[in-house]
Symmetry: C2
Subunit: 334 residues, 2 copies
């Protein structure tokens, strides 16, 4: 096991109660490692953090134009959404444009990530469908891609299907790293997830933001997706979520994307930088604290905006603050 540094700590009273180790990389679009901590060469599953890269073929093959996908729909194709009514309706609309419905989705159903949305569903006597799955927009995008290319919709989630082969090729091209079939896992939504180094992930996010090192059509597709995300941060996550709040507040100065098991990626377009972190233990709270600290380090103007994430309140059930989560080690405030 790698011996990564402590990157975030959670204090209660005068004591640090828990702490998180991890690694992170900041890379420019030419591949220069600008800043790093921990082992940034070890391959990690990027999970949902790379959804924007996975959505590139949807634009490049003409499917987005053919079906007239809106900016909200493109943002949802890059989303881990909270299953709120707007998210569900947008996913359903994408499928309808390809002549499909939720029965075509292979992602499985789960209760909305947003607790109030889940309770509202229960209040109406309903249960969730695959549309409520946080990945339904990505899957709807995959299905649009399959239909536009005349590929069979069934089995679109399998590694050998042409949809996933195109997605894998896009990841390899953008991140500049070969994806090894021996390091392939199955994601929660049943598509393949390929392990990749944090250095390559950060490079991918630098290229997505700048277009440098990508072909012209790919660079244009990346710009279109990032513009959609920046314009509709609610569609990428949801009420109260880090991505939605941070991107809303930073107004396009950062594009961020969470992934399961403590992965977080971001782009800082004006600086041409890509950022990628992974908490060893898979904790979201550590990944959020770390990516906020990294953004603030390179974009000092964002520090005030990101303050609620840089020093997150830990409260009791009455709402009184009893502790805080904060960056540590190489990410500690100086």
């Amino acid at each position: 096991m790698s011996d990564n540094p402590v990157i975030a700590e959670v204090a209660r009273g005068a004591l640090v109660e828990s702490f998180h180790r991890g690694a992170g990389a900041v890379v420019d679009a030419d591949g220069r490692l600008v800043f790093a901590f921990g082992d940034v060469e070890r391959p990690v599953y990027p999970r949902s953090a790379v959804k924007a890269i996975q959505a590139l073929p949807l634009i490049e093959c003409g499917a987005a134009d053919r079906y007239g996908l809106t900016q909200e729909e493109l943002a949802l194709a890059c989303a881990s959404h909270s299953g709120e009514p707007k998210h569900v309706a947008t996913a359903a609309a994408m499928l309808a444009k390809a002549g499909l419905n939720e029965d075509a989705l292979a992602c499985g159903a789960h209760w909305p990530l947003n607790a109030e949305a889940a309770r509202a569903l229960a209040r109406e006597g309903r249960t969730p469908s695959a549309l409520h799955n946080n990945c339904s927009g990505k899957h709807a995008g995959f299905l649009c891609l399959a239909c536009a290319q005349g590929l069979p919709a069934a089995g679109y989630e399998a590694p050998e299907h042409a949809v996933q082969r195109q997605v894998k090729a896009a990841l390899e091209d953008v991140c500049g790293e070969r994806l090894d079939e021996a390091r392939r896992g199955v994601d929660g939504c049943s598509i393949p997830t390929y392990a990749i180094s944090l250095r390559a992930l950060a490079l991918g996010f630098a290229r997505m933001a700048t277009g440098r090192g990508l072909g012209g059509a790919r660079a244009a597709a990346a710009a279109r997706l990032f513009a959609a995300i920046a314009a509709h941060p609610f569609h990428v996550a949801g009420t109260g979520r880090f991505d939605t709040q941070a991107m809303t507040m930073l107004q396009g100065r950062a594009v961020t994307k969470t992934g399961a098991e403590g992965v977080f990626c971001a782009s800082l377009p004006e600086l041409g930088l890509g950022l990628a972190v992974k908490a060893d233990d898979g904790a979201s709270r550590a990944a959020e604290t770390a990516i906020a600290a990294l953004i603030a380090r390179f974009l000092p103007a964002a520090a005030e905006t990101l303050a609620p994430f840089l020093c997150a309140r830990v409260t009791n059930w009455l709402g009184t603050q009893v502790g805080e989560a904060r960056p540590a080690g190489p990410l500690a405030a100086t």
Copy 2:
């Protein structure tokens, strides 16, 4: 920061995706350290893991007898329950016996930990009260203690209130360690939590199970609480929870109790041993894996029963297994 070993890992496909570090101690009732890994002297907040010890004064002062508390109610006083209807009704009954109702609870309200119970509440158009708080049984016990002693009920959660002073004294006596006011935090339910070493926690659980080293009345109170817990494991946690499942399956051969932020304690009465673990990062999944591995190490007959916890399935949203969580390092299967 201490450099504790990796104790649990979560694999997806052929790769370890995330891993957890931590420490743990196994101690007999005479205080001998039988087995240990990581730093077991560092004080950690025990959180809810010590609720049975915190419930001792309730028995010792005669409140449990005066109010005729049932075994289910005593188990609930030691519980981090899931807010299911039986838990809520039991907490309400305890309060009624002391002439109080939920308005006296200082723990705050939260939606039931059990997702189906939360949705059922929403379906009925209701919102949670303090009775649904996972600590409502412990708080109802504190209120019974206050009322039986003629103490003011208001403020019973404060460190300087006689209830919390008695609770602190019981912890110091049973665990054999002085609790430092400088290492006091506020728990999620607003009562004080004092940092204590894993070695002392494990000793406390060995003493609770055996009565050794405790005065006669305290030993009898401990035996009564442990008998109530073993007889009613549902009341200590709830549907699908580790404590309820493990204690139901092990039929009294282990008494276990989870605490927030990756703490887990257990007693093995027939061996006279106490066990305590803390995951550095606060992850429940790591603490569950670690305590299951420790129990199986000293009670090999339990290994088969605990198999679902020793190698926990990681599934996608369709329910297909895509990985596993398992013990590692000093706890790896040999």
